[in-house]
């Protein structure tokens, strides 16, 4: 009697197993709290939209595991170690920022777990000391390109002759972007009148701004995230400085206009995509996001969505959901039609993509132009 019961149990167990899809664990590392939490939220929301779409037709059942990195490299490394050793994920999406992605990419590379970051733009994320990190990819352009576009735009379109740069010395993204901007700006016969740094927790910029104010630069380039930019922009305007402010993709948050208000109106920044651009894939995603969360997704969310879909497509193509098979299929990704444009990887695992320039107006961000690489 007992044997019959047991065999029934077995039968039952196996029949369930053969009907259910195989489970694949995917980790997401993103800052859900801290100084850039709106980016983390939009990234997470977009990640889940991609997973929901995949659940309807995908080969595997995805078990998402979310980790909060607080935009802190130490937290990020702890999070990725937990994802790899405890949760045993097969692939990772994120981290969002370069300063977290650089140490995390080292860890995933030595542990041989494929990782796609949607948004970390510093070159060092996929390369260290001239060596390609084989397991790391990104769905966005890199900072040398972004800095170059911003500098060219300042010189050609804004007719700027002098520029000041203010950057966060402890942040790889900010530091890298500042440097690339400076190089291109000087190459085009512009003068950098001030090249000043600050620390992550600084809130008092009065000394720096007073220093910059006497030089009256045409533009001030502030490659940092929205929170800090809002604070700096306010203090710049309070000192009566009227230079045009310029920035990078870290500016793309609705919070920027909310916190900085009039101080930031009239500024420009480079970005990955503009929701104004007409495109069926983008429109479908934006519509879905709006329905669920009530606002238009920022570029970081859109990139996370693209990164997730690149991974999911690779996973579906893979014969087995092992890390090696997934990696092989990610490498093969070509002309992926994403929200932020068509994505193919170059030999460094970086996406070859165009960048858009956006102007901040009283009503919100407005598309200005697209620059191709």
């Amino acid at each position: 009697m007992k044997r019959i019961f047991l065999s029934f149990c077995f039968l039952f167990f196996f029949s369930i197993n053969s009907y259910a899809k195989e489970v694949v664990k995917i980790g997401l590392i993103t800052p859900l709290t801290g100084d850039i939490k709106t980016f983390g939220e939009s990234t997470k929301n977009s990640f889940f939209i991609a997973l929901e779409e995949y659940a309807k037709k995908g080969k595997y059942e995805i078990k998402p595991i979310i980790a909060d990195d607080k935009n802190d490299p130490t937290e990020g490394t702890n999070a990725v170690l937990k994802l790899i050793t405890q949760d045993k994920v097969s692939a990772i999406i994120g981290p969002l920022t370069s300063k977290v992605a650089i140490p995390v990419s080292e860890i995933v590379n030595t542990n041989k777990i494929p990782m796609i970051t949607g948004t970390a733009t510093n070159p060092k994320v996929t390369i260290s000391d001239g060596k390609r990190k084989k397991y790391v990819f990104r769905a966005c352009f890199i900072d040398p390109f972004q800095g170059q576009v911003a500098a060219n735009f300042a010189i050609k379109d804004l007719k700027a002759k002098t520029a000041a740069v203010l950057y966060d010395v402890g942040n790889d993204y900010s530091k890298g972007l500042a440097e690339f901007f400076k190089n291109t700006f000087q190459k085009n016969k512009g003068t950098i009148v001030a090249y000043e740094s600050y620390q992550k927790d600084d809130v008092d910029f009065s000394a720096l701004i007073t220093k910059i104010a006497i030089k009256k630069p045409d533009v001030i380039f502030i490659p940092d995230y929205y929170n800090k930019v809002a604070l700096i922009a306010k203090q710049i305007r309070e000192k009566g400085l009227k230079s045009t402010l310029l920035g990078g993709d870290g500016w793309d948050s609705p919070e920027l206009l909310k916190i900085a208000g009039d101080a930031i109106v009239g500024s420009y920044y480079t970005n990955h995509y503009s929701p104004d651009r007409k495109d069926p894939v983008a429109d479908a995603f934006i519509k879905k996001y709006k329905q669920k969360h009530g606002n238009v997704p920022d570029a970081l969310g859109a990139l996370a969505y693209d990164a997730t879909w690149i991974l999911l497509n690779a996973l579906d193509r893979a014969s087995r959901p092992t890390t090696e098979e997934i990696l092989k299929e990610i490498e093969k990704t070509k002309n992926h039609k994403g929200v932020t444009g068509t994505i193919s990887f170059d030999k460094n695992g970086d996406a070859i993509k165009s960048t858009v320039i956006i102007k901040i107006e009283k009503s919100g961000p407005k598309y200005v132009t697209t620059v191709n690489p």
């Binding site: 709290t33 801290g34 100084d35 939490k37 607080k70 010395v169 000043e196 740094s197 600050y198 620390q199 927790d201 809130v203 008092d204 910029f205 009065s206 000394a207 720096l208 007073t210 220093k211 006497i214 929170n227 809002a230 604070l231 306010k234 203090q235 309070e238 000192k239 009566g240 909310k258 916190i259």
Partner: protein
């Protein structure tokens, strides 16, 4: 001429920062004077002052003078509570236990309040209770926030002076800072003197937090760490335990911080501050006003 104006402009920036450091460092120095302990949780009291003001503005729309009173009152009460709960049981314990407890209280405050149920770990924009106005005096621009910070700091310092030198509690406090044991033997309730000291220190830090948040309008739970450390350096610089030393130290630190950014490079700013501390510890460990007599 241009350079002189530039120096004056930077000096204004430095005084603004220094005023806040002075307010915080007073708390360090007074507590050290009476208890011979370094209250590392003091930077977090400063943070609490900013957050109380934030909730006062956003939830109750309080006017600025009321904000000062509320911020300083609540932070004073919290400082007294911290002393009663965390430090008083250790009155006869070795000094090192007190120090470690202070670090513990600081971490407890920071990480408990950074939970989403309380303040959350996020950066929050601080709404100013009034519009900012710029006044141009030739090439020098000064705004109403500068003026308010200067005047509030000066008024606070005057009140502090009156409290310490003109009231019985102040006399008791100064006596306690000479020798706590003898003061107790003289029949003075030293416990309430200590509470009084913590209360005043907390109130000043609370005002400092409000002013700081107004000048640099962004707050978060960890905002007290760096200003706390720098104010502590200021207190050491002026001679820890000496009240006018702390005020002077605060202004020196604030102004040198700004001047390093202005004339050297902003990258060296914090480094220079710590080098100043090293030099003082090496050559004048008792600070500017400190007597070289060994304190027991």
């Amino acid at each position: 001429m241009e350079t002189i104006l530039y120096i004056i402009q930077q000096l204004i920036n430095g005084i603004q920062l220094g005023a806040v450091y002075a307010l915080i460092s007073l708390g360090y120095t007074m507590v050290y004077g009476v208890l011979r302990m370094i209250n590392f949780a003091h930077g977090d009291i400063f943070m609490l002052g900013a957050f109380i003001a934030y909730y006062g503005i956003t939830k109750f729309n309080l006017p600025f003078p009321v904000l000062i009173i509320i911020s300083s009152l609540i932070t004073a009460i919290i400082a007294i509570l911290i002393e009663r709960i965390a430090y008083k049981p250790l009155r006869n314990a070795p000094k090192i236990s007190l120090l470690i407890t202070a670090v513990g209280v600081s971490l407890f405050l920071e990480y408990t309040l950074s939970l989403n149920a309380f303040f959350s770990p996020n950066y929050i924009g601080f709404p100013r209770p009034f519009e900012i106005k710029n006044y141009e005096l030739g090439l020098i621009s000064i705004n109403n926030i500068h003026l308010i910070i200067f005047s509030v700091t000066i008024i606070s310092l005057i009140i502090l002076y009156l409290l310490i030198y003109k009231t019985k509690y102040g006399i008791a406090m100064r006596a306690a800072s000479h020798d706590l044991e003898i003061t107790r033997l003289m029949g003075i309730k030293t416990d309430s003197v200590i509470s009084f000291t913590f209360g005043i220190g907390g109130a000043l830090a609370g005002i400092g937090g409000l002013l700081y948040a107004m000048a640099y309008p962004q707050i978060n739970v960890f905002m007290g760490i760096m200003p706390g450390i720098k104010s502590f350096i200021a207190a050491v610089l002026g001679g820890i335990g000496i009240i006018h030393g702390a005020v002077l130290g605060g202004f020196i630190i604030g102004i040198s911080e700004v001047f390093v950014s202005a004339f050297l490079s902003s990258t060296f700013r914090d480094g220079v501050i710590f080098i100043i501390l090293f030099i003082f510890l090496l050559f004048r460990p008792n600070g500017i006003f400190g007597k070289s007599i060994e304190k027991v």
